[in-house]
């Protein structure tokens, strides 16, 4: 059975299409994350599901029942969908406790009180119940919004960047606890987040959105290791695309050397029909390139970012191409220095090159997106 089902959902503000034919399915109890660049339509999609926005095309079903169609919809309050709003939307005239208890059945005062206190404790706000929202810090407000949405145990909960204003520790603790609460109460959830680690940690499935379309709806692992297209490859994790030529079955020849993977070269969908000799772009993650003083391939340090345990180096190859490499932070090289690197990739992700684009990656992404738009529904 599916809890939530979107079929070709389209939403427009005036003539501007913000959600452009989204379809996916969520089974009860599943937790999905929505990723995507700012302004790509994530919030709008959540608002469509919650019932706040009219849809211009497609259909949304809850438990198999249609709840939104062009021209008609079920009222938001009838959907049993909870929501944490990006701007919190706390009620300024109510205390923290009243805010959290707002959606609870008022006849069960005793029981509600317990639930509210318990949730406040979970989000680390025990003792703040009598405050008003304006007396809280940004992160505290955000946590109240989270507790408020969880309180009525909604069947489906939409979380719009619920942890964006929390520090890492709290955010990790909370995301684990929220995941536990959701799993325990059998709630289905969709969470928008900008933190990929968070998405990886919490989500059963991740949807990556761009320009109102879902680019890939997949498991965290696949999203990272088998990106459906260049945009996904570019957006998820870090990495660069480097030109190469497919050799015999398991190898790709590149400037850095030849990559040989255990399996045949995994050409991504957009590269079906990759043959020997075919020009491709290979996705290289920072951990695919290891610093090795012994390596004959030397690269110049262009930029370095301190990452705590590691330093992320941006390196320039002879050809002028740039690659990223993650190196333990005691290998502290200066800008301009040349260091040895070698390839250490397990599996190869290749995208077929468009002849028209020369060496312009932006052009490649554009062409790919255009191709995708001509085959709607392809990406699910």
């Amino acid at each position: 059975m599916t809890q939530l089902e979107l079929n070709g959902v389209i939403q427009r503000y005036g003539s501007h299409t913000v959600v452009d034919g989204v379809d996916f399915r969520l089974a009860p109890g599943q937790i999905a994350c929505l990723l995507g660049p700012s302004g790509c339509g994530k919030t709008t999609l959540l608002r469509c599901i919650a019932g706040f926005e009219e849809i211009a095309g497609g259909e949304i079903r809850l438990h198999g029942e249609p709840v939104s169609r062009p021209g008609s919809r079920v009222a938001p309050e009838k959907r049993r969908i909870g929501m944490v709003f990006q701007d919190y939307a706390l009620f300024p005239h109510l205390t923290v406790e009243q805010n959290v208890g707002f959606g609870l059945d008022r006849r069960q005062a005793e029981h509600n009180h317990l639930r509210v206190r318990q949730l406040l404790a979970t989000v680390g706000l025990a003792g703040h119940g009598d405050k008003y929202p304006h007396e809280l810090s940004g992160g505290q407000q955000q946590r109240v919004a989270l507790a408020r949405a969880l309180a009525p145990r909604p069947a489906l909960i939409l979380l719009d960047e619920p942890f964006s204003n929390l520090d890492v520790g709290l955010r990790e603790r909370l995301s684990v606890e929220v995941r536990e609460i959701l799993k325990r109460e059998g709630s289905t959830a969709i969470m928008v987040t900008h933190d990929q680690n968070e998405a990886f940690a919490i989500a059963d499935e991740i949807g990556l959105m761009h320009h109102g379309r879902i680019q890939q709806w997949d498991t965290p692992y696949n999203l990272y290791h088998r990106p459906a297209n260049r945009f996904v490859a570019d957006f998820i994790g870090q990495g660069v695309l480097l030109a190469g030529t497919v050799g015999d079955d398991n190898s790709v020849h590149m400037e850095l050397g030849t990559l040989v993977s255990d399996t045949p070269v995994e050409c991504s969908e957009s590269c079906t029909g990759c043959d020997c000799g075919c020009a491709v772009d290979i996705l290289l993650r920072p951990d695919d390139i290891v610093h090795d003083d012994a390596s004959p391939v030397q690269a110049e340090v262009l930029h370095k970012a301190f990452r705590g345990a590691d330093i992320l180096y941006t390196l320039r190859l002879e050809s002028g191409s740039e690659v990223l490499s993650l190196v333990p932070s005691h290998h502290n090289h200066a800008l301009g220095e040349k260091i040895g690197i070698r390839l250490d990739a397990d599996h190869v992700i290749a995208f077929k090159k468009h002849a028209a684009c020369g060496n312009d990656p932006a052009c490649e992404i554009r062409l790919e997106q255009q191709a995708a738009q001509q085959q709607p529904g392809r990406h699910t």
């Binding site: 029942e65 009222a75 049993r80 919190y88 707002f102 929202p133 007396e135």
Partner: protein, 547 residues
């Protein structure tokens, strides 16, 4: 779970029904625009007096509009955002002029300032002047009328703007200050524009009341468009022409209101920050404090203290011989009518305003503008406009009754309190509606969504989120309607039940017999009875500021 058409909402349906009911009389006046009139009346009026009337009306509007905006906004700004000696007193006292009916104010000032009045007589006695020896400003002129209207109407702007300033988002003001704007410039760049819906609503109410006024302008012989309407109707006996003129007035007001709406474009006025704290008012000292006290004291003096004292003196020296038990009955009648109407009006206004907010479309907003027009129509015209549908309904009811029970019950509604309250609502709904709408515009739309996502229906969202957030404005709206009903005359006169007098009709009876001094007792009673809720509510309103 039912799929429902996007456009349908139970609340919207209620809203449309109420809007239709309230709009019916206005529409029946407006429809006359399309009925062929008697050309003789038209050509006569347009050739003789109408141009002057229109010019007077425009001048009056300009003067009153500017006056109430400046006085109302300045006093609201001073009391809401500053601290100076007496601020707490002025906070509620500045509302007091509202209780004084404009026509009473006109009588009182005329009596005080006219050639034979105490001021000029004293001057003559002191300096031995005779008529013609000296110049003294004549209050019974257009500028005088402007002054009268500004004095009694500025509280509309004051109340609405003050609520807006109190609901101000301190966060946005702080943002302005980090961008280099001092309090003064931040006021003009942020506070004032954000209070625009409230200020516009206040000014619109003041202007509509000015345009619809007849008593004051007639007494001052400042002939306005309304004079023209009455002339066509009463003196020239042409009801159709009168209604057409009224419809023109409506069209003009509607045009202004719509133009203002359109000029807002896509701009919004709601709070964009989530962490607003009540800012401590900037403390004024020395000359600034003195100036602030002066600025607040002047309108209060002119609009309330002086007229109230003059009324009191008149009432004490030559007041109504019938003062006594009778006044208890009159006060009770007035109070009940005003109270019930205020409660109904606020409730309906809340439904209508919220309905329009929900539908987001132009339809509901337009409907609300139409409903609000009753306030711009001269009282007698709207009274008749109400009579027509009510009596029709009455005839129909009587017919049904006769068909079922075999005898004619007569008129059930006409001449009843319910019909009278209906008339009041038609006339004064605008007051409540504008007030509530302007405040609703300040509530972030995400409040609605948050409540609905927590399982609250539209009605309950209104009750549990918007109503408390709007508390100050709802009280303000109720107060304004209350005081307006206390003062209302034309509809009361013609629609009231038998033997049912109010303070206003009592004052009218005496005043129309040119017994102004005696009318002062009733006028003073209106002020006093109006004062009670006024003082109570305006304290509540200051207390209702939200964080």
């Amino acid at each position: 779970m039912h799929l429902r058409a996007n456009t349908s909402s139970p609340l919207l349906v209620v809203g449309v029904v109420v809007a239709l009911l309230a709009g019916l009389p206005v529409a029946s006046v407006g429809l006359n625009l399309f009925v062929g009139g008697t050309s003789e009346t038209w050509s006569h009026l347009s050739q003789t007096v109408l141009p002057e009337y229109i010019a007077n009306s425009l001048k009056l509007c300009l003067g009153v509009g500017l006056g109430v905006a400046v006085v109302g906004v300045a006093t609201a700004w001073l009391t809401a955002m500053h601290d100076f000696p007496g601020r707490r007193f002025f906070e509620w006292a500045l509302v007091l002029p509202l209780a004084v009916p404009a026509y009473v104010m006109a009588y009182v000032y005329t009596d005080f300032l006219q050639f034979v009045g105490p001021v000029q007589s004293a001057l003559r006695a002191a300096f031995g002047w005779e008529f013609g020896d000296y110049w003294f400003p004549d209050i019974r002129t257009l500028p005088g009328a402007v002054l009268m209207f500004v004095c009694v109407l500025y509280p509309y702007v004051y109340l609405l703007a003050r609520t807006a300033f109190l609901e101000r988002a301190s966060g946005m003001l702080e943002a302005a200050r980090t961008l280099g704007m001092g309090p003064w410039r931040a006021f003009f760049a942020v506070s004032l524009p954000l209070a625009r819906p409230a200020i516009v609503a206040g000014v619109a109410l003041a202007l509509m009341e000015t345009l619809a006024d007849y008593g004051t302008v007639a007494y001052f012989a400042v002939n306005t468009f309304t004079t023209g309407i009455y002339r066509a109707w009463f003196s020239l006996g042409d009801r159709v022409a009168a209604a057409q003129l009224a419809a023109m007035l409506l069209a003009f007001v509607l045009f202004l209101l719509m133009a203002e709406r359109v000029s807002r474009g896509r701009a919004r006025y709601h709070n964009t920050t989530g962490r607003n704290r009540p800012l401590a008012g900037a403390r004024l000292r020395g000359a600034a404090a003195l100036a602030a006290v002066g600025a607040c004291a002047l309108p209060l003096l002119l609009g309330f203290v002086l007229p109230a004292l003059l009324l009191l003196k008149m009432a004490l020296t030559e007041g109504d011989a019938q003062f006594g038990e009778r006044f208890l009955v009159l006060s009770r009648n007035s109070f009940l009518l005003a109270g019930v109407t205020a409660a109904c009006g606020v409730l309906i206004a809340l439904l209508l305003a919220y309905g329009a907010r929900l539908s987001k479309g132009a339809f509901a907003a337009g409907l609300n503008r139409l409903v609000g027009l009753g306030y711009a129509v001269p009282g007698a015209v709207i009274a008749v406009g109400v009579l027509i549908p009510v009596t029709r309904l009455d005839h129909w009811l009587a017919g049904q009754w006769a068909a079922w029970f075999g005898h004619n019950p007569g008129l059930l509604l006409t001449g009843g309190v319910a019909a009278l309250i209906y008339a009041y609502l038609v006339r004064f709904l605008a007051v409540a509606l504008h007030t509530v709408e302007s405040s609703l515009a300040k509530i972030t739309p995400s409040m609605d969504d948050a409540a609905r996502s927590l399982g609250l229906g539209q009605g309950e969202t209104l009750r549990r989120v918007h109503a408390p957030l709007l508390r100050g404005s709802l009280l303000t709206a109720g107060l304004l309607v209350f005081v307006d009903v206390m003062k209302e005359l034309p509809a009361t006169l013609v629609m009231r039940p038998f033997n049912f007098d109010t303070l206003a009709t009592q004052a009218y009876t005496l005043a129309s017999d040119e017994r102004l001094a005696e009318a002062s007792t009733a006028a003073l009673a209106i002020v006093v009875v109006g004062l009670l809720p006024l003082i109570l509510l305006s304290r509540q309103i200051s207390a209702a500021r939200r964080g």
